[in-house]
Subunit: 345 residues, 4 copies
């Protein structure tokens, strides 16, 4: 069984486990005050190209979103997200559980647009509406699309004019940055976003996200918030060591480069076979539209997600590539598709 | 520098990292639905000696307490804890942050007593008080003391008569069970507690606590609660594999047996040198009362915690032993103390 | 200045203040345990025609919704509402502030439909979505429309089959019941809804809503919840006396009958003058579509709400009638409209 | 039956109801934006002697405490209160329900002292403790005691030096100000407190507390918070008119002067009869220590509260005087006590 199901179905890249093994007996102080965390913070800052940002390592994506948004919001304030935002339908109401309304607007290709943010603001101008304060976006998005610099800049400018702040969920920041469609650096992201995350779980780490705060206002009390929400690991160095491994040199982006390489290889193979994609391949998520029969046939040898019906006997499917995906995996998939077609014709 | 500072200042027992390394490329489904989690649940159940309990693995102690108590409480209900309870002073108001009042009563040797629970109930009998629903206890306690069977049974009986439920925080369940003072099995714990935890972080795991629910009422919606509070790891098998390693055979208790062995060795050494303990050594926490001068002297070679002043120039200190503590570590400590005494006399 | 702005811009019906005056010196126990509250509960039950319901009086609409929904929801559960639901855009995120996500679906004429509830359920079938538990509807709706028995029955049946519960926000229950379009009694409402409210604020009381719980499951801890959310009035008899006045005989519905009478008179006048309504007049909210010039002209003598633009120079407006609205008020409005038309032609 | 049970067992002072009656048909805009609220704010500011304070009217004491503290606290911050604080044992965990831990310290005569605040701070200096931000005090206290200027000034100074803020619960501010022991004005209160309240419910109003914010930092978003917590009355003028009545001239303090007059008359009567008080009579709460037999005998004709046992057959009791208490009421009580004594001797 070959998996294209997601980017978190293996423990970790071998280098991660090797480095942990080397350090298994080392004595470290608790709660993220150890040297590995301090080093890793420096490495991440170097990759961002700025020293004046505040970096914290947290074990998972949902809790990082909760903490990142919580630190930006007063109790009476809310969030704008497009309807496909991960925080809306995939986190079990985690943001509402800590007290905040999310106002949703239609997505455009998985993205939030200035026009839709504006509409949300206008519809919530009255005192009895929630006060909108933070714009939530993901990069890459749930559809694997990637923000262009001019798009993010436009959102940023609109937000500054309207007393709004930007939170970017970077659970898939790695593949967003490695995307051929990307025209931004982490430095650009830091310039335009008040808070953003750099996801490790979906790019070869056991677990771990970096929460990066560029607006010092939102650093106030942040360690208390992390602790209070149950996210201050006793063995913080478990995260510190992994982020060291990833960001000391360039391993983090080497892995996502591979994932992107494989996504393009898969896209090309699908193109060759005349299979249409539901969305442009921009990052490591590929959405072929398959007949239900084909999807069913493939499912015996490959793991992938079968999503919405788009026509009679026709489904959007999701194939995810990752650092460990190989051309052989994709070739095997292509062969299986060809076999299916041959039998049918 | 030799550490007696805490039981979470090394990554993990070598077996843990070896097992992770072996499985680093294995494909597993996400969110704790994998085979390792399923196996580990079976192993834990076998150790408890009951099949009708509900087991979940969560990454840290604070969040496990939040989830365990949250699932037991309606929004208008509260918790009774003794004043030294970890949830009161060590978790940044995490329980209150999810909406629940904790009513505190004086501890007796780090423990909660029936008499004090009764007083709390009487003081909160009016409708305008919080409705008390759950009794929170720790085993071992913050003072390293261990509940005796008759004590827990008495609390259990009182609770049943008074519509109260018991949550036992077992962050240090391993050393509690290995204690010479302990007269209970995990099966007893399961018999007396509605929900309890079995801590891994403080006993050789990278991180991880087992949440055990014996009262089916409190299993309702539990996975939703775990997800909503940001504690459903994408790579749930990271916890599953570690709990397999620990509970497949008996490694979990072998490690705590060593920790207890070392605590007793330390206690005996201190006794020999005429150093008094603030509390009986029952588990892996040893609290020698040291002169401030001696404490200061030791601090150059040993990590340990300096706590409350008990007299002029006299402090309670806390030394924690663990699976990796050696007799050599303790002998070195003893020599240093002896050297100090010699110089002074 | 004649007001059609809302149904809460006068203190109270004269009978309310007279009855309060009569009782101003009477000694009553606090917190809603007095005889007036007990009497009023009996009167309300008699109007519902059932003795097995649980009735509580609360000071305002938003907090009644918060308490009513809170008592129905576990912390990991959410609400379905149509997009025009009062709890979504008019209560400042009050439901999210106590921890619950609201999933919104498109309204049909201000109402929720079985089809849309079904879609919401299907879109939230995964474990990582919020667990949907309660269906929120208003009667009358924000558009003044009124649920028909077969509509509510269909929702009820769908809910029973799908483990969902119904909360009906009856802030305008009075005018819903008095509507010509209504084919239900309070007894029907009680039969189909697990929890509903009977609003006083918008029908002649100083303030006050009755929270009616028909599903005993949701009565558990309800007084604690009311107290904890700051809604247990010290002088509960202030609400008890008013509900006595309203429900001892039939004053409550006499007032809404007048409001409906006036709404129909207004509708007919507008019809005669060829002014189109945005929604059918079903209760006491009338939504004429006016040219912006006319609206502006009327605003000098009349209070009403100017809402969405529907075409160039054309707006939906909202006129609200109430127990104190008179034919003279409406005739004056009609004259002003006619004058405007004459001048223009 | 003559009531000394509490200060909220009658609807309202006659002037309140008369003024409401006069205005029953007046059209007013909703949500506290009406002229009566604006006038009342001016009158309250004049009584405080400052124009730069922010005043809001809220319906009840518990919710005013919730809102006042919520607006002062970030989500990770907590409150210090003495153990008899109303927010601890009398509000059903309302502060915790909105997310904040309350750290309690022993009271001294019902009051919080600098020494005890200091101890709380020291015990919560670690990052894993809740961050203490607000000091909660009541004036008058639950024991009817009244803060002296030098006491409040000392707390204020300590708070300023330690980045703490002061919230004063003035549910009984009226009788505190009228007390013979009081040496402060509302202007002093405003000088020393960041937020405080002026209670109406316990001094002749139907309901209503003024929330006064002197620290502009805590005014941010306050109306949103009020709305979100269900405390923005649709008919805000119901509160506005009552506060006009009370503060236009001096009615508010005339009523509390009477209550104090009566408390002193009662105290003197008790003194004459040799009955000891558990606390000094400073405001309108009088705590005679009565034999259980006497208390039981009195209970047939008088309403009052029987509290803690202080010795065999001996109880602290609580008698509350108010604007409507008369010398005749107290004389009747005294006669009953004398009759009882005579019979016994």
């Amino acid at each position: 069984m070959i998996s294209f199901y997601n980017d978190y179905n293996e423990l970790a890249h071998p280098q991660i486990l090797e480095d942990l093994m080397k350090l298994q007996d080392q004595i470290n102080v608790g709660y993220g005050n150890d040297q590995h965390v301090l080093n890793a913070i420096e490495y991440v800052k170097k990759h961002i190209g700025r020293n004046d940002v505040d970096v914290h390592f947290i074990h998972g994506g949902t809790i990082t979103n909760v903490i990142g948004l919580k630190t930006m919001l007063q109790s009476y304030e809310g969030v704008i997200s497009c309807d496909t935002g991960h925080i809306i339908g995939h986190e079990n109401g985690a943001i509402e559980a800590v007290g905040h309304q999310i106002v949703q607007v239609p997505n455009v290709n998985g993205k939030l647009t200035v026009e839709n943010i504006k509409k949300a603001l206008e519809a919530h101008s009255k005192e009895y509406s929630v006060k909108l304060k933070v714009v939530y976006i993901s990069n890459a998005t749930e559809f694997g699309t990637v923000y262009k610099k001019h798009e993010l800049e436009a959102i940023h400018n609109f937000c500054k004019e309207n007393d709004l702040y930007i939170y970017m969920d970077g659970a898939r920041m790695a593949t967003a940055m490695s995307s051929d469609y990307n025209d931004m650096t982490l430095n650009d992201i830091a310039k335009y976003c008040d808070v953003f995350t750099i996801g490790g779980t979906k790019n070869g780490m056991l677990m771990g996200e970096a929460l990066v705060i560029t607006n010092p206002e939102f650093s106030k009390g942040i360690r208390r918030t992390i602790k209070q929400r149950g996210a201050l690991l006793a063995k913080g160095y478990l995260l510190g060591i992994q982020f060291e491994t990833m960001f000391k040199e360039n391993l983090y982006f080497e892995l996502s480069d591979t994932a992107i390489e494989m996504a393009k290889y898969l896209r090309d193979k699908l193109n060759e076979m005349g299979i249409r994609l539901a969305f442009e391949q921009e990052s490591n998520l590929v959405f072929p539209i398959l007949s239900e029969d084909l999807a069913h046939d493939l499912a015996s040898d490959f793991m992938f997600e079968i999503m919405d019906k788009v026509a009679e006997n026709s489904r959007i499917t999701r194939f995810v590539t990752r650092y460990s995906t190989t051309k052989e995996d994709i070739d095997a998939l292509a062969r299986k598709i060809e076999d299916f077609s041959r039998k049918r014709s």
